[in-house]
Symmetry: D2
Subunit: 337 residues, 4 copies
Amino acid sequence: MINFNCDYLEGVHPNIIKKISETNMVQQQGYGFDDYTIEAKKMIKPLVEGDIWFIHGSTAINKLITKTALKPFESIIASSKAHINTLETGAIEDAGHKIETIRDEDGLLNAKDIEDFIIKKENDPSKFHKPKPKMVYITNASETGTIYTKKRLTEISEVCKKHGLFLFMDGARLPYAISASNNDLTLKELTSLVDATYIGATKCGAMFGEALIINNDYLKEDFRYNIKCSGMLFAKTRFMGIQFTELFRDNLIFKLAKKANDQADRIRRRLVEKGYNLTSASTSNLIFVDIPVEKFLELREAFNMWVMSYDDKICNVRISTSWSTNDAYVNELIDNL
Amino acid sequence: MINFNCDYLEGVHPNIIKKISETNMVQQQGYGFDDYTIEAKKMIKPLVEGDIWFIHGSTAINKLITKTALKPFESIIASSKAHINTLETGAIEDAGHKIETIRDEDGLLNAKDIEDFIIKKENDPSKFHKPKPKMVYITNASETGTIYTKKRLTEISEVCKKHGLFLFMDGARLPYAISASNNDLTLKELTSLVDATYIGATKCGAMFGEALIINNDYLKEDFRYNIKCSGMLFAKTRFMGIQFTELFRDNLIFKLAKKANDQADRIRRRLVEKGYNLTSASTSNLIFVDIPVEKFLELREAFNMWVMSYDDKICNVRISTSWSTNDAYVNELIDNL
Amino acid sequence: MINFNCDYLEGVHPNIIKKISETNMVQQQGYGFDDYTIEAKKMIKPLVEGDIWFIHGSTAINKLITKTALKPFESIIASSKAHINTLETGAIEDAGHKIETIRDEDGLLNAKDIEDFIIKKENDPSKFHKPKPKMVYITNASETGTIYTKKRLTEISEVCKKHGLFLFMDGARLPYAISASNNDLTLKELTSLVDATYIGATKCGAMFGEALIINNDYLKEDFRYNIKCSGMLFAKTRFMGIQFTELFRDNLIFKLAKKANDQADRIRRRLVEKGYNLTSASTSNLIFVDIPVEKFLELREAFNMWVMSYDDKICNVRISTSWSTNDAYVNELIDNL
Amino acid sequence: MINFNCDYLEGVHPNIIKKISETNMVQQQGYGFDDYTIEAKKMIKPLVEGDIWFIHGSTAINKLITKTALKPFESIIASSKAHINTLETGAIEDAGHKIETIRDEDGLLNAKDIEDFIIKKENDPSKFHKPKPKMVYITNASETGTIYTKKRLTEISEVCKKHGLFLFMDGARLPYAISASNNDLTLKELTSLVDATYIGATKCGAMFGEALIINNDYLKEDFRYNIKCSGMLFAKTRFMGIQFTELFRDNLIFKLAKKANDQADRIRRRLVEKGYNLTSASTSNLIFVDIPVEKFLELREAFNMWVMSYDDKICNVRISTSWSTNDAYVNELIDNL
């Protein structure tokens, strides 16, 4: 069985294991004060706008930023497809806040919809009986694999500033977005347009861990306390530090993402040639495609894909490449489409 | 201007003021241990199944029951029209829980939809990444003025028991439901079918206050602590107690509700006669009706109604009678329709 | 039995009942937009520095301000005797925050202790593993009946400003403090020195309700949403409004407090004459005194007082006068001491 | 500089790195459904009473269990030295609950103190104004390095059952307790006496991770949802699984702990010989000792220890051995004492 169902099937990039082995018996302080964490932050600092923190996972960050940013009555504007709305077991509501969903365009929000929503709220005579939106949550690459262009993100950023909204970008697959062929944003530009985002490493070669970038003074303040209070402070942060030194050495993480995107592009091209209906305009490592049920049943003998939905005739599946996807497996899939 | 926009425009039933005056200088203990609270509970006890607590308002109770009943990852099933979903400024999410909305029939849930939703959840391979529904929230009379029949409520109650769900009924307008012409449930039967509900007095003649009925051992346990912890314990509970002794003396609260329903029926009949489109099958004190814009503009010179939505041609309004609605005003409205 | 055990034994000042009766059938909007609420705010506005909101009770406010002011990891500095620490069923912790207790002087904090605590925290190498203090909570009149002088409060206010701490004063008995013989603060001065406080009416002639004064832009922002989200918004706010118009008409609330303080002074003088040991230097309506057990057993045949602690020989009791304490009862107590 | 300041200075036991390397490119499902997690659970299952979950850290577990177990108004009984009370940045209060501290005996609670506290609460006429204790939190090995004997733990367990309290044992250093020379509890016995505990691996050879054991049906129910909701679910749980297969293979974790305890015993014996005052009767890997300031200043040229407190004459320090402490370093310390 060849797995294309998600982007964390294999372990960790070998450079990381190598570095962990080499440094294993060096004594290091904990709780973020180890040499590797400090070094990793130094490496990332010039690439981004903001403070850097390493946190073990993306739901953890989504929850932490929400809880830090919002007053009790404030809500989050997001796509109904947003990961926080669909696949986080109510983590955001557990943090105390309502998610208010608006229309998306293939996974992406746009500035006008956000502004329309805000203005409608502000003019609502019952507004004090409804949550007050205070944060916009977007995902890049989005849940359908699409990415935010400089134009789209700048417009959203401007609307957020105008209406006093935090702009928070879920970056669980940010390396894939940054490395997409149609991306026109540098990491520096991107982080300067948002209040917080993260460079997701769990899905791009790490054992675990995301580099949270906070570019907002209110959120930055005393953030170190937040990590412990939320139960997210690791004692041996050296392991988080080492993962990020290795993944940012020679831009490894972006190279890994680029390769996965290229493999996805090859599969997408083949799908188009063969007349399959791509159900999102993804340019990153996720492919969403309709497959006739009969063909799907044949494929699944050899290939594991994630079924999004199905009816009698059509199966909509997600095919995922990753930092560790084997070229031979891609070829085999392409041959069988 | 004659107001039909809501059911709490006037003050409080005169019997309550009278009793407050008479007893004002009698010394009483506080925090629920005054004679009037004890007497009111004794009066209500035979009418219901469960423990009785007096709480100042309905959002407070909705929040309190949610917080007491649910573990962090558990969610609430409700209509998208549910008051907790639309008009409580995120109070339920502030208490830590997601509201998952399902289809309603003119404001009412049905057992089959609930069970289908639960079964789909249980069979979802990603279920651990989604909230686990644990409570069903229904409103009686509903947000559209309709009421739960014995058959409908019994079926929902059974589905809830079968799947281990709490059944919680918002009773902000329960007196109006109990007094509706098509109601076939006694308060005793109704309270025996739910885990918690309340007899809303704020909208039926009180200054403030709802009689919470808890009919579930897990929720009952130590509930008195809950009230103080949530900041909802009054020092001078005598005022809550007196309101309920007076409202339950000779079934006053239900008589007041009945009168309001009758007035609403008169208005509804006139609307039907005149060919207006009633947009809900309400049998309680709220009327939802489409009014041509031109007619609406004429009416609003004299009558204040709540505009639900509108377009170029049609205005959908809510007309509300109450315990204190003046017959003369009803006549005047009827004459002008 | 004559009750001196607390300050809310009787009902409500007759002026309030009178006004409620007179205005009862006047139609009014709800949710804070009624004429009486607006009028009451206008009456109080010139007396204080800050925004005014009417909330039903003191624990509710303590919880609401805490939740609005603090980030998840932030804590509150308070006396170990603080009401929030002793008698609120964990309401503050339920709002998510730790109370860190420091030494008090007969119920009062002082600026130096606060600053010492803060500096020690800032220099603690383990500080990120401990909550970060962000609010100082004081009570005026304090839990032992003492009051804050202009000098003491100014010093605390300055320390709080210097270290970026919110200063929050529990005002459940603020009218008694303001009316104490040794008070040298106007309400205007007092409110200008704190970020938030409230004028407690529940214990001074109201049915329920406190006038919350917020004098901090961060806390002020969007506060109206907060009230609904917390389940503390009343539909018929007219009843809160009327209470405050009547209590502030001709400074009634302060006159009532003054009378109670004077009665307490008379009792205190008698106690001193008779050689009893006063265990606090209270100048407000609460008296704390050691009474030999034998004498106590005799007194309690006729007088109800609150026992704070006791051993074989001595009973420490709290005697409370109030806005409604009868002069004849005070005389009787004095005669029996 | 030789570090004795904590038990997580070095990386991870080499067996773990070896296994991670060997299995790195094997494709595995995530979210707890990988082969290694399943295997590790199978290995631990016969050793304990209860369900097993792997969670990344101890504060995370403390928070998670608290939040799952308690209703809003319920509190935790603990020693004032309890880790949750001193070094978790208010994580427990952030989860909504008050910690009520009682006397400890060298870090250990005893059944009688717990019962006295409970009985006093139950008889308190103001009890509804105070939190209701519902969980006892103990730490084993304790914050002072002492351990719970079978007798002490059995008595506490019985008191908890009698009064309906959850018994939760912080096990961040449980391997050291289980391996202490005076321990008379098997892991099986220990886990059968508590409602939840964990086998801390972070401080005993792992990169991160604790094996949570839940032995209470109410806490067990639906626990998998809890992990995701709290932001604590790892995608690549294989790395947690592998750590526990390797640490439980041939009882490695307990052997590592035993060696650390033995090293600590050697240091303790030397300290006693030399007349130092041991300030706790620790039998595990932590040593608490008074050192004259002059001697301390000399020692700290070469040895890093954790200063607990100090005055002009005496420095109280914590010396910590660990799974990875070098014998040569121990010898050097002993020679210098």
